[in-house]
């Protein structure tokens, strides 16, 4: 029995290693639009992407916190990224989606204007955040360079951090 167990453990660790190897050079991201800008977050931070549905307003919070909604029995905050990024609020349309992101135990839904695509990008093509956004406070993790455009990669833990 112990031999079998060892086998399994070995296999698992081998798999993990290869996973890490893969992660080492390629980052998988999900891109989305807010206003005219394209942003992205790591695919592993995304729990799910859902179509908009009704939510409940919560009093005494900043305007970008739209309220809470019911995700299969869990009460989850809903944050409007347009408002958070200083854009004027827009009505939810056909393309609007809620992206539910998770970091540790923190979960929240974010309203985005439109999904673009899943992106695989090499690590070396990700540059640091521009110097103008300084310090640890920035929610920008880095800038992904692609053939024809650049994408702002956001820090999920910062997005999920309460800042009011």
């Amino acid at each position: 029995m112990s031999d079998q167990l060892k086998d399994i453990i070995n296999k698992q660790s081998a798999q993990q290693e290869s996973d890490i190897e893969q992660l080492d050079d390629i980052v998988q991201l999900v891109g989305f639009m807010i206003g005219d800008e394209e942003y992205a977050v790591p695919i592993l931070a995304i729990q799910e992407i859902i179509k908009p549905f009704s939510w409940t307003r919560v009093p005494q919070v900043p305007a970008y916190v739209m309220g809470v909604f019911n995700l299969r029995g869990a009460v989850i905050p809903l944050i409007d990224l347009r408002t958070k990024f200083g854009l004027t609020p827009k009505k939810h349309g056909e393309d609007t989606r809620f992206i539910v992101m998770r970091h540790g135990d923190d979960v929240a839904g974010f309203v985005i204007d439109r999904l673009t695509m899943a992106i695989r990008i090499k690590k070396e093509n990700i540059g640091p955040a521009p110097d103008t956004v300084n310090g640890d406070d920035t929610i920008i993790d880095g800038v992904g360079k692609q053939a024809d455009k650049i994408i702002t990669i956001l820090k999920v833990n910062k997005l999920l951090e309460r800042d009011f």
Binding site: Q60, V61, V65, V75, P77, D105, D106, L160
Partner: protein
């Protein structure tokens, strides 16, 4: 190593339980030093802990408990009388024992706590008789009543030569469990045998079950030793009801230990998980009930409804039962908390030189585990307070003609969905005037507040932060923090404190606490288009009032409720609800009560009572003032739960009068600079009719928006994409007809002045009347001329002539 860990865990759990009981027993022993049963019990605890700790190689603990055991053994044999001084040393050693156990729990080792001083003192007590500090000296005495570990193992060997080597850990554990059970049973039998022996030795053999006989063999030599001593004792002990029973009667009772062992220790996390699952189930049940109601409405009279109804009611019944059952598994008797108070009272009374007796009742009352954990500290504060400030010194009591001994009564009982813990003392009571003076002095209240305060409100001053009546700060109390913390802690549990007092007679405090925290009964209320849940425990009543019953005093709304004046606050003002619906003539007032303070919360509608599951808003949104959490309703939506405590303090800052007319609708009406700034909606289900209207109005150059029925029109209106100047509404439409649409629109404040023009082929007078009733300003009957329609519209939108 794992087995060791498990044994250690069991040892700790058992030891803590034993020690907890020990405190209580010791205090009782002091007032009742003759009680041999009690002494035996205490001795057994020391002995058990000693035995187990020596097995587990906790030398310090063994050393300490051994000496404790020594002293107790002497007392048990009547060689030593327990005086308060001796008791102090014993209690000190018990405290040390607790410390050691905690040390073991935290570090798995008992090193680092110095027991030498205490051991020396214990020694001194026994020292008079010589050879006391050697374990061997005590051993024979031990064995005389208690089975020593050696004897135990001997018994094991006798019974069955089990091959422990080849056992799996589970088997070993089971075996330990079995032996433990066996040992406990033996213990009990011995006790009974001893009692029987004390009462009537010859009768004993007639208690003749097989085990009993077996037991006899072992017991025979031991009985001899204790028998001479306790001759006078059995009848005198209050606790032992069995002592009066004949051995025969006692025989069935011996079987019970086996049944008592029918318990399983379960990780609390598992129970919590189970509770969460039940929560989900309750939500699903609520949803099912709602769907059932909807279906019932739609398919009235259909046969399958009956069946559906049955299933739904069974599910709902079982869910409720299941919920109660799981709740019960989490319940603990409050005695667990009460146990530590006799000791505390004893220490306090010695420290304060007062004579205080504690009477406990209802300790079997059960409470949710999480509440039991939280309730301890507040109770400690309250009882300390009663001892320090309540009960007078003996001389003073005698002078007042009261018994020298002060009494504090601690009582727990069920009252409806709540547990009440009542703490009464017969001390000097609270003087409302003095409380007010003190608070004024400390700047806690203003002169004016003091004048308006009733006695009952004055009593609650003791819960204000910074308040203290003690002239000087003692070791026990007087720093003015305790009672404030009590209040916060109790309110955290959704509980309330009721306080009553009479000068010279005493004070009575009642803590009312809900049975459980996770699932509560709530009143659902509506404000504008939102809903909120208010915990029913805080709701005293609801009243329907009309607007003119609300008066304004100093910028605050109040109403007269029977003989009282109730201050009012609109829930919408607290939660910043946008006032989009027109306020109706009537409103509902939910009267909230928290202790002695009351508040009227104005809401638009009462939705009903529902059982709700409290869910946290998570880290991101926690700590929002006035919101205690959220729940998921039958329709899948989220409803916020009102935090009544916070709401009451927030209400003080809200000045806006609630039902008064809000600021004029949407206000900034833009100056019209061209004809296309005018926007008109055409609502008609017929394409032809819409085209006719469009043709009639297009020449004006206004913007036209079309909707095919009332529902669509309402949605377009609510979306706020356009700012309409008028609406042309057909009456007969699918989904929502024109009348309904008009009255729906008129509910909204900002559309109050929006001209609604009926365009219809209905011509009867009653139709026109209905149109006016629902808020239409014009009534155009088909067919009409294009010019007529255009002129009616122009008139209603104040169309500027220069655009023509």
């Amino acid at each position: 190593m794992d087995e060791f860990e498990e044994i250690l865990q069991d040892f700790l759990v058992e030891s803590f339980e034993l020690v907890e009981k020990l405190d209580e027993d010791l205090v009782e022993l002091e007032s009742n030093p003759e009680d041999l049963e009690l002494l035996n019990g205490i001795f057994r605890v020391a002995h058990t802990v000693k035995g187990a700790s020596s097995f587990l190689n906790f030398d310090v603990l063994t050393h300490l408990t051994h000496h404790m055991e020594d002293v107790l053994n002497r007392a048990r044999h009547g060689e030593l009388t327990i005086t308060p001084d001796i008791m102090d040393v014993i209690l000190e050693s018990v405290d040390l024992m607790k410390q050691l156990l905690e040390q073991i729990r935290d570090t798995s080792s008992d090193a680092g706590i110095d027991v030498a001083a205490c051991v020396a003192r214990l020694d001194k007590i026994t020292g008079g008789t010589g050879e006391v500090d050697t374990p061997q000296a005590a051993a024979p005495a031990e064995e005389s009543v208690e089975e020593s570990p050696a004897e135990e193992s001997a018994a094991e060997d006798d019974e069955d030569e089990l091959d422990y080597e080849n056992m799996s850990p589970e088997e070993v554990e089971a075996e330990i469990e079995r032996l433990l059970a066996q040992r406990q049973e033996e213990d009990r039998k011995k006790r009974e045998a001893k009692i029987a022996a004390g009462e009537a030795v010859p009768q004993m053999p007639s208690g003749d079950e097989e085990e009993a006989k077996e037991e006899e063999k072992k017991e025979e030599p031991k009985k001899a030793a204790p028998a001479p001593k306790p001759v006078s004792q059995p009848a005198a002990t209050p606790k032992k009801t069995e002592s009066k029973e004949s051995p025969k009667a006692a025989a069935p009772a011996r079987k019970t230990p086996a049944q008592v062992e029918q318990t399983i220790r379960v990780d609390v996390k598992r129970l919590d998980h189970l509770m969460n699952l039940i929560g989900e189930l309750v939500l699903a049940k609520n949803r099912l009930i709602k769907i059932n109601d909807d279906v019932e409405e739609r398919y009235e009279g259909e046969e399958f409804l009956e069946e559906l109804n049955q299933v739904v009611s069974i599910v709902s019944l079982v869910t409720t039962d299941l919920q109660i059952a799981v709740m019960k598994t989490r319940m603990l008797p409050i005695g667990k908390v009460f146990n530590k108070f006799p000791r505390m009272i004893r220490d306090l009374s010695r420290e304060l030189n007062k004579k205080i007796e504690l009477v406990i009742s209802g300790e079997e009352t059960e409470l949710d585990k999480s509440i039991v954990e939280e309730i301890g500290d507040p109770l400690v504060h309250i009882i300390r307070n009663s001892c320090d400030h309540g009960i007078e010194p003996p001389e003073e009591r005698l002078a007042k003609g009261k018994p020298e001994m002060g009494t504090i009564t601690l009582k727990a009982y069920n009252e409806g969905n709540q547990i009440v813990i009542q703490i009464d003392d017969d001390g000097k009571g609270l003087d409302p005037q003095m409380l007010k003076d003190k608070s004024l002095e400390k700047g806690i209240i203003t002169e004016k507040e003091a004048d308006q305060m009733s006695d009952k409100e004055a009593f609650t001053l003791i819960f204000r932060p910074g308040f203290s009546t003690a002239a000087q700060v003692t070791n026990v109390s007087g720093r003015g923090v305790g009672m404030d913390v009590v209040k916060t802690n109790i309110e955290k549990l959704n509980g309330i404190i009721d306080i009553d007092s009479e000068i010279g007679k005493g004070t009575s405090m009642k803590l009312k606490i809900p049975l459980t925290l996770a699932i509560i009964q709530a009143l659902l209320v509506g404000v504008q288009e939102e809903h909120y849940a208010i915990p029913l425990a805080s709701v005293l009543e609801t009243v329907r009032i009309s607007k003119d019953e609300i008066y304004t005093v100093e910028g605050k709304s109040v109403m007269r409720l029977r003989d009282d004046v109730l201050s009012l606050v609109h829930i919408g003002d607290i939660f910043e609800v946008e006032r989009i619906l027109d306020a109706s003539e009537h409103a509902y007032v939910v009267v909230l009560g928290l202790g002695t303070s009351k508040l009227g919360l104005i809401v638009d509608t009462l939705v009903g009572q529902e059982e709700i599951v409290i869910k946290s808003l998570g880290d991101y949104l926690k700590g929002i003032e006035g919101i205690a959490g959220a729940t998921i309703r039958g329709d899948g939506g989220v409803t916020l739960i009102v935090d009544v405590v916070a709401l009451m303090s927030m209400a003080k800052d809200v000045k806006v009068t609630s039902l008064s007319e809000s600021e004029s609708s949407s206000g900034a009406v833009k100056e019209k600079t061209s004809a296309s700034d005018y926007t008109i909606m055409i609502v008609d289900d017929s394409k032809t009719d819409r085209t006719i209207m469009r043709k009639a109005l297009e020449p004006m150059g206004v913007t036209l928006v079309e909707a095919t029925d009332g529902q669509e029109a309402l949605n377009i209106l609510k979306s706020g994409d356009y700012n309409f100047d008028a609406m042309l509404i057909d009456i007969e439409m699918p989904r929502m007809d024109g009348y309904t649409l008009a009255s729906e629109i008129k509910k909204y404040n900002r559309y109050k002045n929006l001209p609604l023009i009926a365009v219809t082929s209905r011509t009867s007078k009653s139709d026109r009347m209905r149109g006016v009733e629902s808020g239409m300003v014009e009534y155009i009957t088909k067919p009409y001329s294009a010019d007529y329609l255009s002129s009616v519209v122009q008139r209603n939108v104040n169309f500027k002539a220069e655009f023509l």
